[in-house]
């Protein structure tokens, strides 16, 4: 049986995208501390893991698309960097969205625990390669 689209393993050199709403001020390109850890804070829908998207399946513009009239940025990370830091990534394709992946160690339920706090800091302050945008929806 063929592997469903998006369910194949994520290669180390794959880039992953995370959308950041501009309005929350979690990213400020003019600031020395430009990206804050809470840019990687799970929300209520992240029950099984923090959502990111594979660049293999979704363009950065598509990832940035959100609520009409709002502005977003997109953080870019490399899968291998996360794994090297001990952060697991699993493919979790959705109906019509094969590029969806999750970080199962970062969920809404455990978001205030010690390890997720460390990982948020790691993702924002060390592992994020760059932030693209702004993108206007």
């Amino acid at each position: 049986m063929p592997t469903p689209l998006g369910a194949e393993p994520i290669a180390d050199d794959e880039l992953l995208y995370r959308r950041i709403p501009a309005s929350l001020n979690l990213y400020d390109p003019s600031a020395e501390l430009f990206l804050l850890p809470d840019a990687f804070r799970p929300n209520a829908s992240d029950t099984t893991g923090l959502s990111l998207y594979r660049s293999k399946y979704k363009s950065i513009e598509d990832v940035a698309r959100g609520r009409e009239g709002k502005t977003y940025y997109v953080a870019v990370l490399r899968a291998g960097d996360l794994r090297a830091a001990g952060i697991a990534i699993v493919p979790r394709p959705l109906e019509g969205d094969p590029g969806h992946v999750e970080l199962p160690g970062l969920t809404y339920e455990n978001r205030k625990s010690d390890r997720p706090i460390e990982w948020k800091s790691l993702l924002a302050l060390k592992l994020c390669i760059k932030v693209e945008g702004p993108f206007h929806s």
Partner: protein, 150 residues
């Protein structure tokens, strides 16, 4: 003799024992504005006062004026009550003598977070949606301490 500079060791970067936020043990006194001594922070620096005013007077004031700007997909925007509470907490932190944060943001989880980074030490003070206030100190992405301030 090898200079420490040649091995890339920066003796000026603060550690957690030197970063002011990381050292703050609390508790955080309430309603600092009501106390006469709260008019000037302990360190007496007008620059620091200005920095705190920029935080409270800028972003928080904007959000108090129009909390709807924080609403978005998959985001729990902070209630007006929490934004106002965060502004009060900021004044209390200033009165306690803490240097101003470099950033203030909405957490996306109904709260407001103040963030200060000093070298490898990143400290956050989060005002959560349940009105609790917590200081979390992370050094080189390792959690060093966390404590409730209120």
């Amino acid at each position: 003799m090898v200079s420490v500079a040649t091995i890339g060791f920066n003796m000026n970067l603060p550690t957690t024992s030197e970063a002011p936020w990381a050292q703050f043990a609390g508790p955080l006194a309430a309603n600092a504005v009501a106390r006469p001594e709260a008019a000037q922070p302990h360190n007496g620096s007008s620059t620091e006062c200005e920095r705190w005013r920029a935080v409270v007077g800028s972003r928080l004031a904007e959000w108090q004026e129009n909390p709807a700007v924080l609403e978005d997909e998959a985001v729990e925007a902070p209630r007006l009550e929490i934004i106002q509470w965060a502004a009060q907490v900021a004044m209390d932190l200033r009165a306690a003598g803490l240097p101003a944060p470099q950033r203030v943001a909405a957490t996306g989880d109904g709260g407001i977070v103040f963030v200060r980074q000093e070298g490898p030490v990143c400290s956050t003070i989060e005002v959560a949606s349940d009105r609790s206030v917590e200081l979390v100190v992370v050094e080189d992405s390792r959690l060093v301490s966390r404590r409730r301030l209120r």
